[in-house]
Amino acid sequence: MATLPFEKNMYELKSKIDELKNLAIDQDMDLGKEIRQMEIKLYNMQKEAYKNLTAWDKVSIARLVERPTSLDYINRIFDSFMELHGDRYYGDDSAIVGGIAMFNGTPVTVIAQQKGKNTKENIKRNFGMPNPEGYRKTLRLMKQAEKFNRPVICLIDTPGAYCGLGAEERGQGEAIARNLMSMSTLKTPIISIVIGEGGSGGALAMAVADEVWMLEHTVYSILSPEGFASILYKDASLAKEAAADMKITAQDLINFGIIDRIIKEPLGGAHTNVDEMAARIKRNLEESIARLKSEPIESLLTKRYYKFRKIGKVIE
């Protein structure tokens, strides 16, 4: 079981419960009452803990190795998913998984940022950090969706766009910019869901959408807390403080009016029950895709423009 620092007490209690259960079986004892009491206690501890998570706790959950990745959701939510590859200019970026699928009988395009589950996979997926060819693959697939009137669903989970030499040479800035521009006028509904980390421009390049949702324990930020602390506090070890100051949680963003919906996670985090999490995302998509598809495209585009147009606080 994945354990985060704030889960220490709960982990100990869970171990005790498991011990008791094993004891009951070995010694043929009836410990049902005691076990149930402890389970209720654990449930209440979890509820309390997960109501009072700090920004840094959320960052930790979002970055958990055990956290479900895009493919975990794609395989549970969509049918007949066929992955498509390449940007048609340079290469195929494994940090982006994209393709076509069926969603309750409706053809859709799904494009996702994909992290790895272990070191080997992470190297293949570049830790979910796309290169320009990843953003260009995204654009190609979105334009294809537009041609065939398929709604686009983007899953966001990245520490940020990759900062390598090759990425810079191949125009990482241009690739992100082009996506921002093209998504804003794409003539088909777009829903973007942050399922883990929403890392800055690298995330935004796939999140200029009609609706932007975040799972309950995700973060979406201009920079990593470590980077922020390093630049503004001159001390990267102040990341915890930075995370709180930056206001990067789903709750912060919905209060700011920047995102449209938060999808609650199972108690303990999405990783404790992927099936349930996927089901919740699916229910939300069912309602929204139907609604967005029925709206005339001109009206959709106007709303999409103003969704981003209105973001900003100035004094005149």
Partner: protein, 306 residues
């Protein structure tokens, strides 16, 4: 190596014509400062070179440059072509026909959207020190008689970082250009998105890019001029979306910071990396243009698109 020159001289005719004269009033009574010469390289550790007269030394090639020559060469070293950074007012003076500039949104200032400690005070101090209200000036004017909307960023105000005000002013300028079927020219100079405004700064990237998208759809012209430095969230949004992208010689233009890239790849970077000439070679900009030729180049482009 960029060489920052701050020349704040209240007496010589560097005034802009403005609708409101409060700004000029303030400038007249501001104390005359000596020429401050700071030199920065990529390591940022060069010591300042403070002259006591009317000359400065170009850190790149060592040539002595006299004040008068500097003005005539529009703040460039005529020996090695180094283009020193200039402020937005100077830029507008060099680019826009005298007497034709009308500024937009000149009194817009920043709020504190994520309640970041110390941000409001920092802004006030900067406004007092730089006599700018923010890191960008927008407006309209003529270039050799041709109408254009113009946006000029200024790296002396919080490193030209883009927060809500920069995003809003630029978006309004783009929308004005779209609505009036006018071309827009944006001179970029920025260290990227403004950290102190958090996620709000990030969203300005989407906001400005969406405005450009609409401007494009109506068949209007957008010229970007990339100046030193242009980095981060500005590069990854409107800066790289011009129909025509020009750049000043040797300007630093990139997405990620050099140090971050070096830490990521654990190698030294090639010579000239992220400089204008490098981007030209890699196919990302249209032309590198000397400052003394910029106005003519813009004139020519506007003419072809009129």
């Amino acid at each position: 190596m960029a060489f920052i020159l701050s020349v704040i001289n209240c007496s010589v005719g560097m005034f802009l014509e403005r609708g409101n004269h409060m700004f000029e009033f303030k400038r007249i009574f501001q104390k005359s400062k000596y020429i401050e010469v700071k030199s920065v390289g990529n390591d940022g550790e060069k010591k300042p070179n403070i002259p006591s007269g009317m000359w400065v030394k170009c850190e790149t090639c060592g040539k002595i440059l006299y004040n008068k020559d500097l003005e005539e060469s529009i703040m460039t070293c005529d020996n090695c072509r180094t283009h020193f950074r200039i402020g937005c007012h100077e830029r507008i003076n060099y680019t826009i026909d005298k007497g034709t500039f009308i500024e937009y949104d000149e009194f817009m200032i920043s709020d504190n959207p994520i309640d970041f400690e110390g941000y409001t005070d920092k802004l006030q101090n900067l406004r007092d020190k730089t006599l700018l209200n923010e890191a960008v000036i927008t407006g309209e004017g003529k270039i050799n008689g041709q109408d254009t909307i113009i946006v000029v960023m200024d790296s002396t105000f919080m490193m030209g970082s883009m927060g809500c005000v920069v995003g809003e002013k630029i978006t309004r300028a783009i929308e004005k250009a779209t609505d009036n079927r006018k071309p827009i020219i944006i001179f970029t100079a920025s260290g990227g998105a403004r950290m102190q405004e958090g996620i709000f700064s990030l969203m300005q990237m989407a906001k400005t890019s969406a405005a450009i998208a609409r401007h494009n759809e109506k068949g209007n012209l957008y010229i970007t001029v990339l100046t030193d430095p242009t980095t981060g969230g500005v590069t990854a949004s409107f800066a790289m979306l011009g129909d025509i992208i020009l750049a000043e010689p040797n300007a630093l233009i990139g997405f990620a910071g050099k140090r971050v890239i070096e830490q990521t790849i654990k190698q030294q970077l090639p010579e000239g990396f992220q400089r204008a000439e490098f981007l030209l070679e890699k196919g990302f900009i249209d032309k590198v243009v000397d400052r003394k030729d910029m106005k003519d180049t813009l004139t020519q482009i506007l003419k072809i698109h009129s």
